[in-house]
């Protein structure tokens, strides 16, 4: 086995750009340049579970494809385990696994076992090793007993777990997962997240992309938010939440509320915004603020004589932060 | 009137574009120009090798006429499957318009395409093999071309309907398409086939129409081939009718919610 060059980061990306050139039109062909990655930098430590968040078309899949050697970057560098993804494709491919979300990418007319054995041979894993490992993976991923059924009869969750098994065949040090829980029901998605977290806890470096903020919040050690090919925020999930400033939300319902009352709420030091939305028979007042508990105790005094119900306070979710970040950077 | 004509022309054009949306310009060229030319040349050279240069026109003419089957069979099936893909089929089914007419109209663009293909084939034949139409009964030849384009589209409609329930109907269509090359007197007279196959040949479109067209090229009058053309039309009508019957049957199933699985 070739030894890796010394590296500090499992994945290291510097000023990575990817521009797709496509032609449009049938007869008068014009070239269209589409900047998918506008220069991104990333450094991911060995054993880290890293999440890349972003809206549709932000460049998540493109990033993963560059890192998995499927795409050549237009400029910039990317290294996986110290190997350059452009030139040292063999070294990178042997040491990584990748899973693209969705149901495609499997031979539906063959059994799950045949799918795995085929890829095991393509990964050039010795037969004794692959036999044992396929058995283990089927067990761990809950596919044992169904491995000789054709894939077309599998549920989405099973197909997704088969994908993951395929990605793990070569016992990769770095695993790339592009929207792994897409299309799964909540229970299936949660099970898969538990599995992924478990892999990271066993020392694998995992690079995951997702649309789901709670997903990143739940399992990632660190996340980056990408938008239009640029990283707009990076850090632990909680530091991202803090980036946005508000760390709390207070909500309550009223039948009616006057403009003066709203202004009085806005006058509080720690309150950054007050939003009133109509919902069925009531108005919902949402207050973004730094100290929700403090605001709650003041409500009675400030809204003297108004009947308010269902008061609640919660922490801002990563979703709140994400929505603000994506909106802001436009 | 002119307005609705324009609308009709537009929808025909759109159907045509949809038909070839899979192809790049180069792919379209390969399919519509290279393929017909190579088909004609291949079979002519084969025929000349086997029977001498005197027979080149027999093979060239036969294959030029058979080119219509490409539109009539594959084109019609593609039109139907396009409608299924774009979800316009239920709209058609739900409309109060005359169903039979609506059903038939979907093959219109392919009939036109088929006629153009044959004319192209004849031009190629004229250029490469000196087809001389000065002694031919041109109006009659034109009529024959229109008739075989309609009748093969009739057979196509049957497969189009089959395609709504059968996943691999396109395979069956392939077999039929190439079968026409053997059975319909394209490269050798039907009389050389074993008796049982002759029966099959005469129950297929093209067979009589190709005979009539060969006569027309030789200068025959309408009366001499009227019987053949009537037979040809009858065969085409039977297939189109079967296709329509199948289509109505499926429509009934669809109403009762049975067709969903078939899709």
């Amino acid at each position: 086995m070739p030894s890796d060059p010394p590296f500090r980061h499992a994945i290291e990306v510097a000023d990575l750009r990817k521009v797709y050139t496509t032609t449009r039109g049938t007869f008068r062909r014009t070239k269209v340049e589409n900047v998918a990655l506008a220069g991104i930098d990333l450094a991911i430590a060995p054993g880290e579970l890293f999440g890349l968040l972003g809206p549709n078309g932000a460049g998540k899949t493109t990033t993963v494809k560059v890192l998995t050697t499927l795409l050549l970057p237009t400029s910039g560098t990317a290294r996986v385990l110290g190997h350059d993804v452009v030139s040292a494709t063999g070294d990178v491919r042997r040491r990584i696994g990748f899973v693209f979300g969705g149901e495609r990418g499997l031979y539906w007319r063959l059994s799950g076992y045949d799918n795995l054995r085929y890829f095991a041979d393509l990964y050039r894993i010795p037969p004794q090793v692959s036999k044992r490992r396929i058995g283990e993976l089927l067990e761990v991923l809950g596919l044992a007993g169904r491995e000789h059924d054709k894939v077309e009869g599998y549920s989405r969750g099973m197909k997704q777990r088969l994908h993951l098994a395929r990605g793990l065949l070569n016992d990769p040090d770095v695993l790339f997962l592009d929207e792994p829980t897409i299309g799964l029901d909540p229970v299936g998605a949660r099970d898969l997240r538990v599995l992924i977290r478990g892999l990271a806890d066993h020392g694998k470096t995992i690079f995951l992309t997702t649309h789901y903020m709670f997903e990143a919040d739940a399992i990632c050690d660190r996340v980056a938010v990408i938008k239009k090919g640029r990283i707009v925020a990076e850090g632990t999930p909680s530091s991202i939440k803090q980036l946005v400033g508000d760390i709390g939300v207070v909500e309550f319902e009223v039948d009616t509320i006057s403009q003066e009352d709203i202004e009085r709420l806005q006058g509080l030091d720690t309150v950054s915004s007050v939003v009133v939305t109509e919902r069925e028979l009531a108005l919902v007042v949402t207050i973004h603020c730094a100290q929700p508990a403090e605001v709650m105790t003041q409500l009675g005094r400030l809204l003297d004589g108004i009947a308010f119900r269902r008061v609640s306070a919660r922490e801002a979710t990563l979703e709140d932060a994400y929505v603000e970040l994506i909106g802001e950077a436009s | 009137m002119t307005q609705s004509l324009a609308a009709f022309a537009r929808s025909t054009w759109l159907q045509y574009v949809a038909l070839f949306q899979w192809a790049t310009p180069l792919g379209y060229f390969a399919y519509k120009v290279v393929l017909p030319v190579t088909q004609i040349v291949f079979f002519v050279q084969l025929g000349v090798f086997a029977t001498g240069p005197g027979n080149a026109l027999y093979f060239a003419l036969g294959n030029s006429l058979q080119l219509t089957a490409n539109s009539g069979i594959f084109g019609v099936i593609a039109t139907v499957s396009n409608e299924r893909q774009y979800g316009t089929l239920p709209l058609l089914l739900g409309s109060p318009a005359n169903r039979l007419l609506t059903f038939m109209s979907r093959s219109f663009v392919n009939v036109l395409d088929g006629i153009v293909s044959v004319v192209f084939g004849l031009v190629v034949t004229a250029i490469l093999y000196g087809l001389d139409l000065r002694t031919a009964n041109l109006p009659l030849l034109g009529l024959c071309i229109v008739v075989i384009s309609i009748t093969t589209a009739g057979l196509g409609l049957l497969f189009g309907s089959l395609g709504l329930v059968m996943r691999d109907s396109i395979i069956v269509a392939n077999v039929v398409y190439y079968g026409l090359l053997i059975l319909c007197g394209i490269n050798f007279p039907v009389s050389r086939l074993p008796d049982a196959l002759q029966v099959v040949a005469y129950s297929l479109p093209l067979t009589r129409g190709v005979m009539a067209a060969r006569e027309a090229v030789a200068g025959a009058a309408f009366g001499q081939v009227a019987g053949l053309l009537a037979g040809e039309l009858l065969v085409g009508a039977v297939y189109a009718g079967l296709g329509y019957a199948l289509f109505r049957l499926l429509e009934g199933w669809a109403r009762r919610g049975g067709l969903q699985e078939a899709y």
Partner: protein
């Protein structure tokens, strides 16, 4: 090296198993060659049996060719639809090894095309080839197989990056049959087309094949074998460049993923 052979073998096995359940495969090795054989036999026997070898073997040669290369091309298209094309691209096994496995499968399937076509000639037309020289015939068939194999392996990466390449080559099918002399001698073709024929490796192998099955045949069969093998070797060199090009091209455009 052993792991590469195993990968090629598995690719062979997998593509064969997928093929066995695909109706298209039967169309290509069974129906399609039989139809060509039937037309060929009817036409070629219309004035005696002197040229019957082209009818007996022609359908088989056509079927053999089209299965070998169409099937390889189709299997790449299928990988694209499956979404597996990217995956087989990103494994440590070079693409060419996987393709070799696939094409070996196509080659074997293609050879099957001789069974129904020769059967049709025998049972339907009572056509036999009494003058066939088994040894020369076998070597010629081997050389023909080699030329088909090399062309299919060389062309397949083109299908991986270009969907229209396949359509275009499909449109040229009958042209190839004619140019390579699958059902009638190349000398039938217009003079100006013949140089193209002679640049194609199957032309020489087919010529040797028919010569070894025809009574009055004369000619330098061994020289034709060498010509075919030499041309195949030349294609091989070109295809190395093609594989390099495709590897880069696919990684620049991301075209492997497009369904």
């Amino acid at each position: 090296m052993r792991s590469l052979i195993r990968a090629a073998w598995r690719s062979f096995e997998m593509s064969t198993r997928l093929r066995v359940v695909s109706p298209w495969a039967y169309l290509n090795w069974l129906v399609f060659p039989v139809i060509f054989a039937a037309i060929g036999l009817f036409v070629l026997t219309s004035s005696g049996y002197a040229r019957v070898a082209y009818g007996v073997l022609g359908g088989g040669v056509i079927g053999f060719w089209s299965v070998t290369y169409l099937d390889g091309g189709n299997s790449i298209q299928e990988e694209r639809w499956n979404g597996t094309l990217e995956q087989i691209f990103a494994v440590p096994t070079p693409l060419v090894v996987i393709v070799i496995g696939k094409i070996l499968g196509s080659l074997l399937l293609g050879l099957l095309a001789f069974i129904p076509t020769v059967g049709l000639a025998y049972f339907g037309f009572h056509a036999v080839l009494p003058a066939l020289d088994p040894l020369r015939f076998a070597v010629s068939l081997g050389v023909l197989s080699f030329s088909f194999f090399i062309i299919a392996v060389a062309l397949t990466p083109l299908f991986a990056i270009s969907r229209s390449a396949f359509t275009v080559l499909n449109g040229l099918e009958l042209g190839v049959y004619g140019l390579c002399g699958f059902m009638f001698p190349v000398s039938q073709l217009p003079q100006w087309l013949q140089p193209i024929s002679y640049a194609l490796s199957p032309t020489w192998a087919t010529r040797a094949l028919y010569a070894s099955a025809t009574p009055s045949a004369s000619g330098d069969i061994a020289g034709w074998w060498l010509a075919s093998i030499g041309l195949s070797a030349l294609y091989l060199v070109v295809s190395v460049a093609l594989y390099r090009f495709v590897e880069v091209r696919a990684r620049v455009s991301g075209e492997l993923a497009l369904a």
